[in-house]
């Protein structure tokens, strides 16, 4: 409905700002402190986070900038202009693959975590299936509604996390953070790579910026969103190290959730807070899953513009479900994680570099407006 200008075709710049953390805060951060602690000594990982954060922010700015140079043009259109149609088609198709893989990974991973923290006996397939149904329900609605969902869930997630962090101050030990600056450059580099991998979901901006009516401030907003994420990662990593120490962090499967386990709310009614925390964290993972799926749909509908979105939902959903059944244990889920993130990183950086090169080569602006 067009009245009151709440059309469902367009989103605001603020919603881009919210979409970035909603996309990037997901399963990754649950295991991120472990991966980073494995490579670094004490709390030295913060250097890696800051460096990878800087790379990620640059990356975000470049993605947002090139997309907002072509306001209101879908990815396929401006990519076709820059790198010819067949290549743009190929990129778009690869984004479909990325979206599908990422969705499948998130769905599978959430089943894995809930198996650890909520119930042992319920079959993974049931959890996958019910979760996927809700995801399908979300992507079948309007696209702007997904952004509204982000705005509803992100504050809940952030507030819960803040509360958790505040309560864990009591358990921090300064000795855990020391000694500083002991990690050698090579290991820090590994950490930087690890961090960069966590920030690859940013490629959603290639697509979503075309929905913003007047994307002048979008690069700034996206960078702001990315900075929030980096700060978030940094605080969580430092808290995990300060509470558990480096060695323990490197050996706990989900350090971030385990943080909730060690915390007690004074005079609290609930025990085993980690279950409640994980349940709330489900919302953060959910927004990521939905956006990943939605990007796949967005890319598909831009290739086949005559087919309805719902049709692709019904085509992709079984594929996603099939993909979720492939990994059998947490090790294989880890492998899946690697495949997805390396693929995303490779794809997004290739696309970004190629697009920018062509943009500069073509002299930029003439086709932009």
């Amino acid at each position: 409905m067009s009245n009151l200008n709440y059309g469902d075709e367009k989103i605001s710049q603020r919603e881009i700002f919210l979409a970035v953390p909603s996309m990037l805060i997901a399963i990754g951060i649950l295991v991120f402190p472990r991966n980073l602690a494995e490579n670094t000594i004490a709390a030295d990982g913060w250097i890696s986070i800051l460096m990878s954060g800087f790379i990620a922010i640059m990356f975000t700015w470049l993605v947002a900038k090139i997309a907002s140079n072509f306001p209101n043009q879908p990815f396929l259109k401006y990519a076709s202009f820059l790198v010819t149609k067949p290549v743009a088609m190929l990129f778009t198709f690869l984004f479909v693959v990325q979206g599908t893989l990422l969705t499948a990974f998130e769905v599978r991973a959430i089943a894995d975590v809930s198996h650890t923290y909520l119930f042992e006996r319920t079959p993974v397939q049931v959890i996958n299936f019910s979760y996927l149904l809700v995801v399908i329900y979300a992507v079948s609605g309007s696209r702007a509604a997904i952004f509204r969902l982000n705005a509803l869930f992100l504050p809940i997630v952030l507030v819960t996390t803040t509360i958790l962090l505040l309560f864990s101050i009591r358990f921090m030990e300064f000795n855990n953070v020391m000694p500083m600056f002991k990690t050698d450059i090579k290991d820090l580099g590994k950490g930087v790579f690890e961090g960069t991998l966590s920030f690859t979901g940013i490629s959603i901006l290639f697509f979503y910026i075309s929905l913003v009516k007047n994307p002048i401030k979008v690069p700034k907003k996206a960078v702001l969103g990315m900075a929030t994420v980096v700060l978030f990662y940094l605080i969580i990593f430092l808290t995990c190290i300060a509470v558990f120490g480096n060695v323990q962090t490197a050996n706990i499967r989900f350090p971030f959730i385990e943080l909730a386990k060690s915390v007690e709310i004074p005079g609290g009614f609930f025990e085993r807070l980690e279950s409640i925390f994980f349940v709330i964290w489900t919302m953060a993972i959910f927004t990521t899953t939905v956006m990943a799926f939605d990007i796949a749909l967005f890319a598909l509908t831009s290739i086949f513009s005559k087919v309805k979105k719902q049709t692709f939902v019904f085509i992709l959903a079984p594929v996603v479900y099939f993909l979720t059944t492939i990994p059998n244990n947490s090790y294989e889920i880890g492998v899946m994680d690697k495949i997805v993130t390396y693929f995303s990183l490779g794809l997004s950086s290739t696309v970004l570099i190629v697009l920018w090169m062509m943009y500069i080569f073509k002299g930029g602006k003439q086709g932009g407006k």
Partner: protein
């Protein structure tokens, strides 16, 4: 297909012809006058026509009398019960008979202009208008040799007087509530808002009932797009009879599949006025004390007019309490199921033991136990509403047995389940909007079923689903989740808390009102 429908139509025309022929024959037997849709100069024929149009009902009063010195015949026609008979005898009959002495060709004009002392008077020249007016409680005045009828507004008859609204009671605030008469209701709003820009736009709903419907808004505040859209939707209503404004609500709402009410009903004029000045619109329907307010958002369901009638600190706390009780009403039984059946480890161990001990004799799993209690409570609730007040006590006593000590000692439910059920019930009663409370009651069962299959994970999945539904849902084009999302942080001053009046200087931004400032802010 086409042929058969054509055939039917032909047949119907035939039947109609026969009917009218029969009727005409009957009438010819009764009187010599013929039925016409025109108003003629012949009084007898006019009277016969109106009688026939209305089917000569028993409550149609036709009073014939002589006017003036020339003994010209005249008649007044009305339906007893719809009119104020004192008004007719004093202000029409008496004045005409005593004041009208001479008689010329302008006599009707003279009556129209000078004689009759009723404010609402019209000249009418078609039978349809006359009959509609009579059915609305007006009185028609016929005069021999004139083909114009005077229609006078003499609405009256028995109506309910203004009383305190029963469905929304306040401790502090105006005590008047809407009644069944739309004129009174409109007047109640006018009394609150003495703004010349208050618009009351009339529509007619009901193909048969021809009820008056009034759309209220304040021009200059409301977004014109909104009014246009509401008018457009109101014009699509195609229904025989509207017994309550709910018919209108269900006809113009955005999604009939949603469990959420997308328009708000109220019996309180002050609530309507409050929303009008915020750029919303209200719809009044003749024959019902419930007005509709539109559009609404999620927060509106948990707001009460009382919030503004108490000081802001207490009002804010009460509002927080209402959000909390909405949470209880929605989640409590499902949390019980999830915690007892799936995650007993999450409760403190002492509590887990005591729950386990009390549940020892209970034969059912927690999910069944909770469902039994919830359904019992719903039955009790429904019975309590349908019962006449005189035997209402019975429900209290019997209900106490089913949800109480007796059920526990019979070993059907555990005492903690009784507490959960009772707390849920109290919590759902503290939601100000009845239709929203119904929504919560419905969704509670969805949560319980999800919790019995997937525990806490099921609850969060249903919660996410409801959120997805809410962000997709719209009320007259405004997202239901506004102003939470799309975020209008300025409007949060009057959302979960109720900030002091001096802080709320603007009308709700999400309404996109024409006149944003609610107050004149002096430049510093």
């Amino acid at each position: 297909m086409v042929r058969s429908s054509l055939f039917k139509r032909l047949k119907r025309i035939d039947l109609f012809k026969q009917n009218s022929q029969n009727q005409q024959q009957d009438d010819q037997q009764k009187s010599s006058a013929k039925f016409t849709k025109e108003i003629t100069t012949n009084l007898d024929q006019n009277l016969a026509s109106i009688k026939q149009m209305l089917g000569d009902p028993g409550d149609l009063v036709v009073r014939e009398f002589l006017v003036g010195s020339l003994d010209s015949r005249a008649a007044i026609v009305y339906i007893s019960g719809l009119v104020d008979e004192d008004l007719i005898s004093n202000n029409i009959l008496k004045t005409i008979q005593s004041n009208l002495k001479d008689f010329d060709e302008n006599v009707l004009d003279k009556i129209y202009k000078e004689v009759i002392s009723i404010t609402d008077i019209r000249k009418v020249q078609s039978l349809d208008d006359v009959s509609l007016a009579i059915l609305n409680g007006s009185t028609a005045f016929y005069l021999e040799n004139f083909d114009t009828v005077l229609v006078m507004g003499t609405n009256g008859g028995e109506t309910r007087s203004i009383q305190q609204p029963e469905s929304e009671t306040l401790i502090r605030g105006p005590r008047d509530g809407f009644v069944e008469s739309i004129e009174t209701n409109a007047a109640l709003i006018r009394r609150d808002i003495k703004d010349p820009n208050l618009r009351l736009k009339s529509h007619v709903v009901g193909k048969r009932s021809k009820q008056k419907l009034v759309l209220c808004y304040i021009d200059g505040i409301v977004n014109p797009e909104l009014v246009k859209e509401v008018n457009r939707r109101l014009e699509t209503i195609d229904i025989d009879y509207v017994s309550d404004s709910s018919y209108v609500e269900q006809w113009i709402e955005d999604s009939f599949l949603s469990p959420f009410p997308q328009l708000m009903e109220t019996e309180r004029p002050d609530k309507v006025s409050l929303n009008l000045v915020r750029g919303k619109v209200a719809i009044l329907v003749d024959g019902t004390p419930f007005a509709i307010i539109a559009p609404i958002t999620l927060g509106d369901a948990l707001h009460s007019p009382e919030d503004y009638n108490q000081r802001w600190i207490t009002a804010s706390l009460l509002r927080l309490l209402r959000y909390l009780s909405a949470f209880f009403a929605l989640f409590l039984p499902s949390l019980y199921i999830a915690l007892v059946a799936y995650h007993p480890g999450m409760l403190p161990s002492t509590l887990t033991y005591s729950i386990a001990a009390t549940r020892e004799g209970v034969p059912f799993p927690a999910a069944i136990e909770a469902l039994i209690m919830a359904i019992t409570f719903e039955i009790l609730h429904e019975a309590g509403i349908r019962l006449p007040k005189v035997i209402g006590q019975t429900i209290g006593i019997v209900g106490g047995l089913v949800i109480g000590e007796a059920a526990v000692s019979a070993g059907i439910v555990s005492p903690i389940m009784v507490i959960v059920t009772a707390l849920t019930a109290i919590a759902s009663f503290s939601v100000p909007s009845y239709s929203f409370a119904l929504t919560l009651r419905t969704l509670r069962f969805a949560f319980m079923i999800a919790a019995s299959f997937l525990g806490l994970f099921g609850i969060i999945l249903v919660y996410i689903m409801i959120n997805i539904h809410i962000v997709n849902l719209k009320s007259l084009g405004i997202p239901y989740s506004t102003p939470f999302s799309p975020t209008f942080s300025q409007d949060w001053k009057d959302l979960v808390i109720r900030a002091p009046f001096s802080f709320v200087t603007r009308r709700p931004k999400f309404m996109k009102t024409k006149d944003e400032k609610a107050k004149d802010i002096k430049p510093e």
